[in-house]
């Protein structure tokens, strides 16, 4: 049953057609993400990751982009799932509103969705606790580090309690140390909230450190090259020096090398 799957993608293709261009960006993509799992997507640049991300999010793609095939999020079309508040987005840039405080930013979607004042306050205080951001309520984004800003944007995505978190290279701008810190945080959040997470990344190590399943995309044709199940226990900080962990990294690197040709 596709309904038990958080994401179900069946023979999805997309192409840019117009302005004299005719470019296939995705070809025959098939995969599923089961509820509550953590799945990463990795691939060389230009493999159509962004297009795939936008299609699953229910965001509009360029006018010239035509998609075929089936995408279901919780058994619904992405646009419907998005309207039903089942999708939370975390983008590459934190995209916080600079005039709002940490709390103010987290409550933005709640205000727009018409939650009552009381329930907004309750939800925001729960989020601050979950993300360990207590004491920072009144800070403005410009007073926070890049990692903290991204944490606030994760809080904003969790505010209306979506089942699915879609994350597009959220930690790409962070340095190695902060990135690892945020990796641990996102795993904690995932364990506590039991959300389904689809995580787009550039980093092989990050993909192995975080996910249960890594989907490797390829160029020419832009399709799925391999899917690797990562059979390691959490927290991964305990196994990150094991030979099994390195074997996964090596395996994915080899696949990626093949995929980039």
């Amino acid at each position: 049953m596709e309904n038990s799957k958080a994401i179900h993608i069946d023979s999805l293709s997309a192409l840019f057609d117009g302005n004299g261009k005719h470019l296939k960006v995705l070809e025959n993509i098939n995969f599923t993400v089961s509820s509550g799992s953590f799945v990463s997507i990795i691939g060389p640049s230009g493999c159509g990751k962004s297009t795939l991300f936008r299609l699953i999010s229910g965001l509009p793609t360029k006018d010239t982009c035509k998609a075929e095939g089936k995408i279901r999020v919780n058994g619904k079309k992405p646009e419907t799932a998005s309207k039903d508040r089942e999708i939370g987005l975390v983008l590459q840039k934190p995209t916080l509103l600079e005039w709002r405080t940490v709390s103010g930013n987290m409550q933005l979607p709640l205000e727009i969705m018409g939650y009552s004042k009381g329930s907004i306050e309750k939800k925001v205080s729960d989020l601050l606790k979950l993300l360990d951001l207590q004491g920072y309520e009144k800070y403005r984004p410009s007073e926070l580090s890049g990692g903290m800003q991204q944490k606030v944007s994760i809080g904003r995505a969790l505010a209306y309690n979506p089942d699915l978190l879609l994350m597009d290279e959220p930690f790409a701008a962070l340095d190695e140390i902060n990135r690892r810190k945020m990796n641990n945080e996102i795993i904690n959040i995932w364990k506590k909230t039991k959300k389904t997470i689809l995580f787009v990344t550039h980093s092989i190590e990050e993909a192995v450190y975080l996910s249960q399943k890594v989907i490797i995309l390829r160029n020419k044709p832009s399709t799925i090259h391999k899917i690797v199940n990562i059979d390691l226990e959490y927290p991964r900080s305990k196994v990150q020096n094991s030979s099994k962990y390195f074997k996964y990294i090596k395996e994915i690197r080899e696949y990626l090398n093949e995929a980039s040709i």
């Binding site: 999010s57 229910g58 965001l59 509009p60 998005s82 309207k83 999708i87 987005l89 983008l91 590459q92 840039k93 995209t95 509103l97 600079e98 005039w99 933005l108 979607p109 205000e111 727009i112 969705m113 403005r140 410009s142 007073e143 904003r156 209306y160």
Partner: protein, 253 residues
């Protein structure tokens, strides 16, 4: 505390440089002989300001009663028109063309045209000032409201936000720094417009006062009038800047 000290230092620095400038001016005129037609001593100007304070402030207030309403109406209309039109590209483009056309008319000609239609009373000056202020405020607001970060756009879409929410929760607050800036700069444009238009006729005001005293070679009164305009302009500008800082506190850091 630190910030208070910083503001204090800033004020001290501005005031002391102004005083230094005036002292140098006074010394210069004491040493060299300069025709009164060119320049007169600041001490004389100041004495005139004190002696003729009543008439000077009366004339200045008349002009202020043209500047402030004109500036306010012009700014408000500029913002309102942009808010009404930003979602309709055809309408806003057409309107931009019209307002460019009006603003391309030299101020003198515009004064004459509007003077011909409605006379040279106070309302004419208010209309002129608001027309001149309207244009930059409208263009700035429009360009601010029509540009949005792709990330914000995507997020708002994923929240299924209504246009009203997008406007009030994102677009308007985002525009505030640029908007308050242009409104602040327009203070000076408003003063300039009001005084200049008075040179071409009217029933009162500091511009007319200066013009008539110049005709009588009453030069210390001309300078005193200019001094009053400068003082008012400074107060006006910094008051608006103060309000701007209250309204846009996040811009400081």
């Amino acid at each position: 505390m630190k910030r208070v000290f910083k503001t204090y230092k800033y004020v001290l620095l501005s005031v002391s440089s102004l005083i230094l400038f005036i002292i140098l001016w006074e010394i210069f005129l004491n040493i060299f002989h300069v025709s009164r037609i060119v320049l007169i001593k600041p001490s004389e100007i100041l004495a005139t300001c004190i002696r003729d304070f009543d008439i000077l402030s009366k004339e200045m207030l008349y002009t202020v009663s043209e500047i402030i309403p004109g500036w306010f109406i012009g700014s408000l209309m500029g913002i309102l028109c942009a808010v009404i039109m930003y979602r309709n590209e055809k309408l806003s483009k057409g309107f931009v063309t019209t307002s460019v056309l009006i603003n391309a008319i030299p101020l003198i000609a515009l004064t004459a045209i509007i003077g011909g239609i409605m006379g040279t009373n106070r309302d004419q000056k208010i209309l002129l000032v608001s027309l001149i202020v309207f244009f930059p405020v409208f263009i700035t607001t429009l360009s601010q409201l029509t540009s949005i970060d792709q990330g914000h756009k995507d997020l708002l879409l994923s929240y299924s936000a209504k246009p009203k929410d997008i406007l009030f929760k994102v677009l308007l607050p985002k525009s505030l720094p640029a908007l308050t800036n242009i409104v602040k700069v327009s203070c000076i444009t408003a003063i300039f417009t009001a005084v200049t238009s008075e040179f071409f006729g009217g029933y009162g005001g500091i511009g007319i006062f200066i013009l008539s005293k110049k005709g009588l070679y009453n030069l210390e009164l001309v300078w005193a009038g200019i001094f009053f305009i400068a003082v008012f302009g400074t107060i006006f500008y910094f008051t608006v800047e103060f309000l701007q800082k209250k309204l846009v506190p996040w811009q400081e850091s």
